[in-house]
Amino acid sequence: MIAELRGLKPQQIAAAAFRLREIGLVIALGAAVVFFAIRAPNFLTVGNWQDIARDVAIVVVVAVGETMVVLTRNIDLSVASIVGLSAYISADYLASHPGTALGVAALIAVGVGTVLGFVNGLLVVVARIPAIIATLATLAIYRGLSFQVTAGDQVSAFQLPDRFLDLAASKPLGLPTLAWFAFAVAIAGSAVLRWTRWGRDFYAIGSNPEAARFAGIPVGRRIILAFTICGALSGLGGFLWASRFPNVDAVAATDFELDVITAVVIGGVNVFGGSGTIFGVVLGAVLVATIQDGFTLLRLSEFWKMFFNGAAIVVAVTIDALVTRRLQDALRRRRAEVLAARHAAAPPRPEAAP
C-alpha cells in the first residue's frame, strides 16, 4: 500500500493519511475474515453474518451518537444508563398500552434519551464540568433513576406485542430489522457530519475549541446539541434494546458503554476530538463483533477468548499507530525526493565568504 503511494503528490498522500484509519480497519477486518473463514467452518455463512449484524446494530445506533460527542472533544459515559432507562420506560408503556403504535413507544424512548442527553450537555457546557466527570456522575445517577422507576420490577416478554418483538426477529431482504435501523442511523449520521454546518462544527470544535469560538461557532450550543443527539440515539437504542432483550429491568444494558466506546475507539475516532467518521465506527463495531464471533467459532476456551478479545484491541491500536507512522515517514521521504529534484534542476550557488 505504501509502495503505491510513491507516485503521488505529497498532498495526496496527506489526504490518503486522512482516510487511513478506515483503510487500516478494512485491512484488519479483511484479515480477520480470511483467517476465520479458513479456520472456522461455519464462519462464512449468511446466518452468521445475520447474527453479527444483529449484535452490532444497537452498538452502532448508540455509537453514532457517541461519535458526535467524542468529535467535540468530550465523552459520554452515561449512554448505557440512558439505554437502560429508556428501554424500561418504553417497554413499560407498551406493556400497559398494548394497542399503542410502535412509533409512539419509540418516540417516548427517544424523548427520555433526549432529555437526559440534554442534561449532560448542560452540565458540561453551563456548569463547565469536564465531560468525563459529568457523565461518570450521570452514569450513576441515571442508573439510580432506573432502579427508582422500576422499583425492582421488570417488563417481561409476554407482556409485549409481537410486532414489537418482531423488530429483533424479522429480516427484510435478509438483513435483520435492527440492522436496518442501524444502517439508517449510520447513513443519517454520516450525512449530518458531512453535509450540515453544525455537523462540520463538531469537527471544528473538537479540533480546536478556542479557534472554533473565534470563528463564530456557537461552541456551547453545539456541544449541548451533540450530547442531546447522543442522548436521543441512546434512547432509540433503548427502544431497540427492549425489542431484542424483552425482559427489561433496572440493570438492563449495564456496562454497555464499554462496547460503545470500544467501537468508537477502534473505529478511529480520535479520543481528543476533531477526527473520525461514522464509517470507521461501523467498521470498528463489526470488527470487534467479528473477532468475538470468530473466537467462539474456533471453540476457543472461554478464558482464552476473553484474553484474546482484549489483546485484539491492543493489537488493532498498535498496528494502526505503526501504519500511520510509516505513512507519515513516506510522506516526508516523498518531500525529500521533490526537494532533491528541485535542487538538481537549480544547483545552489554557495557564495564564498571572503
Binding site: D51, D55, V119, V125, L145, D153, N247, A253
Partner: protein
C-alpha cells in the same frame, strides 16, 4: 442572556433529578424496611437489588415478617459484587440488627464480615448463594444442588429423546452455585440413561443479556449439530430463548434450565422452551426469614433432623446436604410447561 437562561435551566434540571430520586425513593423504592412495633430486626441482603428474583424474595421476606411480628429490612448493592455486600453486613451489625439473611456473591469474600457480625451476636442465615459454613448457622437451599443438576439434564433429555450434542450456558465462571450445579449435571450425564447426550461446551454469558445472546448464537453456529441447551440462570435462559425465537430455531434446538415464568411465558407458549424449572421465589425469601426468626428465638439450632413449622409452607426439616452442614431445603423445583405456566406470576 442565553447563558443565564441555560444556567437556570440546568439548575432546575439538576434539582429536578435530585427531588425526583428522593421522592421516588420515599415512595416506591425497591429497598426498604417493613417495620413492626416490637420483635426482632432482620437484615435481608440479596446479591443485588433491582432485579425481579430478589425483589420477589424481599417481598416474601416482608410477608413472613408480618406474620411473625419481626422487622425486615431489604437492602443491597446495585451490582452483584461481593465487595459491595460487605459494607451492608458491617452496617447491619453496627445498627444492632439481630440477624442477617444473605444471598452471597462470593461464599468466601463475605465470610470475614459475617464472622465479625456473628461475634457481635448476630445470627447469619444464608439462602440461594451459600457462604462458608463457619460463617452462617443454616443455609436455606433451593432444591438440593444434586437434584437441580439432575433435573435439568432430565428436562432436556426428555425434549431431545436423550441423544445428541448439548451445551451449557452458565452465568459467570466464578458463580459458586452455577459451578456446583454444572458439576452435578456432568455426574448425571455419566448415567446410562444419558449416555447418548454429549456435553460439548460450557459457555458463560456473564449474567447479562448481551453476552448471553452472543454466546447462544455462537454456540448454535460453532456446533451445528447442537440439540439442546441447558441454561441454569434466569438471565441466560431468557436470552437464549430470545435468540432461538428471533432466529426462528425453536424447533431445532431445545432449551431448558432455570427461568422465571414471567420472563419465559412467551417462549414456552411458542415452544422455544418446552420444559424448564425453578423453585418458588415467593416462598424462598419467606422460608429464609422464618428460619432466621426461629434461630433467633432459639427454636432452631441447626441440628440434623430438627423439624419446624414455617408458616404457610408447613413443616420443614433440617437436613445435611452437600457436605455436613445444616441445610433447610425449600422443596422440589417447580416445573413449568405450556400447561401450567399461566398459574404462576413472578
Amino acid at each position: 442572556m442565553r447563558r443565564k437562561r441555560l444556567g437556570i435551566l440546568s439548575l432546575i434540571s439538576l434539582v429536578a433529578v435530585v427531588v425526583l430520586s428522593v421522592g421516588l425513593s420515599a415512595g416506591t423504592s425497591s429497598a426498604g424496611t417493613e417495620r413492626a412495633e416490637s420483635g426482632k430486626r432482620i437484615f435481608f441482603l440479596p446479591k443485588l437489588i433491582g432485579v425481579n428474583v430478589f425483589t420477589e424474595n424481599g417481598k416474601s421476606a416482608k410477608e413472613a415478617a408480618r406474620a411473625l411480628g419481626e422487622t425486615v429490612t431489604y437492602n443491597g448493592p446495585t451490582e452483584a459484587v461481593a465487595a459491595k455486600q460487605v459494607p451492608f453486613i458491617d452496617s447491619a451489625a453496627r445498627q444492632g440488627y439481630n440477624a442477617i439473611v444473605i444471598s452471597a456473591n462470593d461464599p468466601n469474600a463475605v465470610a470475614p464480615a459475617l464472622k465479625r457480625a456473628q461475634q457481635r451476636g448476630l445470627k447469619v442465615i444464608s439462602y440461594d448463594g451459600d457462604v462458608r459454613k463457619d460463617a452462617r448457622t443454616i443455609f436455606v437451599s433451593p432444591p438440593k444442588a444434586s437434584d437441580i443438576g439432575a433435573f435439568q439434564v432430565e428436562w432436556l433429555g426428555a425434549q431431545i429423546r436423550y441423544r445428541g450434542e448439548i451445551a451449557i450456558l452458565s452465568a459467570t465462571p466464578t458463580a459458586a452455585n452455577q459451578n456446583t450445579w454444572i458439576k452435578f449435571m456432568k455426574q448425571t450425564l455419566k448415567k446410562r440413561k444419558y449416555r447418548n447426550m454429549k456435553l460439548v461446551k460450557t459457555a458463560y454469558g456473564n449474567d447479562n443479556p448481551t453476552d448471553s445472546a452472543k454466546e447462544t448464537q455462537a454456540l448454535l453456529r460453532a456446533y451445528p449439530n447442537l440439540k439442546g441447551i441447558i441454561a441454569p440462570t434466569t438471565v441466560g435462559i431468557s436470552a437464549a430463548a430470545q435468540v432461538l425465537d428471533q432466529s426462528r430455531r425453536c424447533r431445532r434446538v431445545a432449551l431448558t434450565g432455570l427461568g422465571l415464568p414471567n420472563q419465559m411465558r412467551r417462549y414456552v407458549k411458542k415452544g422455544c422452551a418446552r420444559r424448564f424449572g425453578l423453585w418458588n421465589e415467593r416462598d424462598f425469601g419467606y422460608l429464609a426469614t422464618y428460619v432466621a426468626s426461629l434461630v433467633l428465638d432459639g427454636k432452631l439450632t441447626g441440628k440434623l433432623g430438627e423439624s419446624f413449622r414455617a408458616g404457610r409452607l408447613g413443616t420443614r426439616r433440617v437436613v445435611t446436604s452437600d457436605g455436613n452442614s445444616p441445610v433447610v431445603v425449600l422443596g422440589k423445583p417447580l416445573v413449568f410447561t405450556r400447561a401450567n405456566i399461566d398459574k404462576y406470576n413472578f
